[in-house]
């Protein structure tokens, strides 16, 4: 996949911090708690700056200055992922809530055919309404929410079967 950078990293505990090697180059690194639970002070080879780190699922979101970097940590000895083999040609697509909020309306029913971009659910948070659209065309197999229901960020709203 394009846009991926991989770094081989080794970490060693050293007096007063860590020694971290990236692709063979060694840095002295210290990470100190600043503002709980997400903000730290990062010192690299003596130079320090604030950094925000948030764990979101299996990735780390690291914010330095105004930019955000999304990183995934994987062991060097790769473990084969389960469940990817033998996938059928039709796939389930889960439509999830992009933000926590209230379900205002459900625009489709189970079994209905939807074209890519069709509105599935209307949500509301902080006085703002948002249309949640399907990323693919297909048949709605499950509607998991009903109007008036509170949902969390990432909660499944509906499941779509693509052909």
């Amino acid at each position: 996949m394009s846009g991926h950078d991989r770094f081989a990293v080794q970490v060693r505990e050293a007096p007063g911090g860590l020694e971290v090697s990236i692709d063979g180059r060694v840095h002295r690194v210290e990470l100190l708690r600043w503002v709980e639970p997400t903000h730290f002070v990062l010192a690299i080879d003596g130079a320090s700056r604030p950094v925000e780190i948030v764990r979101a699922g299996d990735e780390l979101r690291v914010r330095l200055g105004y930019e955000q970097y999304r990183l995934q940590v994987t062991p060097r000895i790769s473990i084969p992922r389960r469940g990817t083999a033998g996938r059928s040609s039709s796939a389930d697509v889960r439509i999830v809530a992009p933000m926590p909020g209230l379900i205002v309306a459900v625009q489709v029913g189970p079994g209905s055919h939807v074209e890519q971009g069709a509105v599935v659910v209307i949500m509301e948070a902080m006085k703002m309404q948002m249309e949640i659209r399907t990323p693919r065309s297909g048949h709605i197999s499950v509607i998991s929410v009903k109007p008036g229901e509170e949902v969390a960020k990432g909660q499944i709203l509906a499941t779509l079967k693509t052909q």
Binding site: M1, G3, H4, D5, R6, F7, A8, V9, Q10, V11, R12, L18, V20, I22, H27, V29, L31, W34, V35, E36, P37, T38, H39, F40, L42, P50, V51, E52, I53, V54, L60, V62, R63, L64, Y66, E67, Q68, Y69, R70, L71, Q72, V73, T74, P75, R76, I77, P98, M99, P100, L102, V104, I122, E124, A125, M126, K127, M128, Q129, E131, K153
Partner: protein
């Protein structure tokens, strides 16, 4: 909290109200008395006019300051206050009724000779298509009872009209209890400049100064400053004059803001915000005036003692710290505030609702705090703001701070050459920067969390991979 401060400065007893989720909020802790409202939903709490009046009676208050948002521009509430013998600190009910009907205000300003954009009165779903064709695209659907940028939706073409209309009506109904909407032509590359006015009960009107509020997303302001950078003195005078003319036409009393779009040598009136505005501190910093104190004085029928035109002292800028994630298209973020770091130093003012342990819920506006910087020049104000943003941290909640850091370093913004399209530049930026520090931070974070135990003890190696979504960072 802002109002509690001015009450105490004037020697008034401050009585606060709060919804259950806000029971540990600063305005509750620091007021002299505080009373709980029945529920967390706005309808049960800060929009609950009956409960508010009952508390006002029980606490024997003389006056009610409605703040901004909620009932601050509600004519029925203002009238109900007066009927129960409580002074409403704001315009009279009749003026609120007129300003609340945005289409009607437009009409009145046209009568006074103030230019407006092509637009309509409240439209039905059936009439919308024909009305839209008359107005022309792109256009905005605006809530008749709206304000503060809520209930405004952009429509680029006729095809988008039906679904956007439905969304706008739904939002207007929840936010304002009024689903009437009207259409207005949209100028995509204009500057949003507004004029603060104060008007007393004796017919004196003072146009205090202008604010540039061109940095907006979803038609809500993110950054405001005064004086407006690069605004020709002749245009500034015309805007102040138009606001004063408009205020006189409407019989305006108390503090209010007249909003305009400015494009080249032309300006157009948009609407009146018949209340104190979120961005009022920038005006306070360059005029040395406390606008809330002025509001109380006007409400006591005192005569204004302000000499206009006012020469602003220096430059002030405000950044709104909201519970929104700029890296996720400014979607609301909710959760519990952990720790907190608020900025300080010369020329920095922080108006904040934040406290550690506070729950940020979906019930209210995402605005958490305002950081305001003052400097003798715009350059100094911007430099102080950059430093203040570096000092600001809200633990556990994504905020607009990264966007502000970007904006304050953007060449167009620094030059004062930006317009209402500015936020698009953030969404379309080419992210730059060095990935190595981020990887080192992540490595140290994983180490601190004890994640290394997952790896075989003899290697302790990790391979790192960036996720696909942020493909732009590989240009370093």
């Amino acid at each position: 909290m802002r109002i509690v401060r001015s009450c105490h400065e004037l020697g008034f007893r401050a009585v606060a109200v709060y919804s259950p989720v806000d029971r540990r909020a600063r305005h509750v802790i620091l007021s002299d008395e505080a009373y709980a409202l029945p529920g967390d939903e706005p309808a049960a709490s800060y929009l609950n006019s009956a409960a508010l009046l009952e508390i006002a009676r029980r606490a024997r208050v003389n006056a009610v300051h409605p703040g901004y948002g909620f009932l601050s521009e509600n004519p029925a509430f203002a009238a109900a206050c007066q009927e129960s013998g409580v002074t409403f600190v704001g315009p009279p009910s009749s003026v609120l009724a007129e300003c609340g009907d945005k289409a009607r205000t437009r009409e009145r300003l046209v009568q006074a000779g103030v230019p407006v954009l092509p637009g309509t009165n409240a439209v039905s779903d059936e009439d919308a298509r024909a009305a839209a064709a008359r107005v022309g695209f792109p256009l905005l659907i605006k809530a008749s009872g709206g304000g503060g940028g809520k209930g405004i939706h952009l429509v680029r073409s006729a095809g988008e009209l039906p679904s956007t209309l439905r969304l706008a009506r739904g939002e207007a109904r929840t936010a304002f209890g009024d689903d009437r909407v009207y259409l207005e032509r949209w100028l995509p590359d204009a500057r949003h400049i507004e004029v603060q006015i104060l008007a007393d009960t004796h017919g004196r009107i003072a146009a205090v100064g202008e604010r540039d509020c061109s940095v907006q997303r979803r038609h809500q302001k993110l950054i405001e400053e005064t004086p407006a950078p690069g605004l020709a003195p002749s245009m500034q005078r015309r805007l102040l004059q138009a606001a004063e003319t408009g205020a006189r036409k409407l019989g305006y009393v108390n503090a209010g803001t007249f909003e305009f779009l400015v494009q080249g040598d032309e300006y157009y009136f948009l609407e009146v915000n018949a209340r104190l505005q979120v961005e009022h501190p920038v005006t306070e910093l360059v005029t040395g005036m406390d606008l809330v104190v002025q509001q109380f004085r006007i409400a006591r029928r005192e005569a204004l003692s302000i000499e206009v035109p006012i020469s602003p002292r220096g430059h002030a800028i405000e950044c709104r710290i909201s519970a929104e994630d700029p890296h996720e298209g400014f979607l609301p973020s909710t959760g519990t505030v952990g720790g907190l770091a608020e900025p300080g130093g010369p020329g920095i003012r922080v108006d904040s609702a934040l406290s550690p342990g506070m729950e940020v819920t979906r019930h209210y506006d995402p605005l958490l705090a305002k950081v305001i910087a003052w400097g003798t020049t715009r350059g100094e104000a911007l430099a102080r703001m950059r430093q203040a943003l570096l000092e600001t941290a809200v633990g556990g909640i994504a905020t607009t701070v990264p966007f502000h850091l970007w904006a304050l370093n953007d060449p167009a913004f620094v030059a004062g050459n930006h317009d209402t399209r500015f936020v698009r530049g953030w969404n379309e930026r080419e992210p730059r920067g060095d990935l190595i520090p981020a990887v080192l931070a992540a490595a140290a974070f994983e180490q601190a969390e004890g994640r290394r135990l997952r790896f075989p003890p003899d290697t302790r190696n990790g391979g790192w991979r960036r996720a696909a979504k942020d493909e732009s960072v590989d240009r370093f």
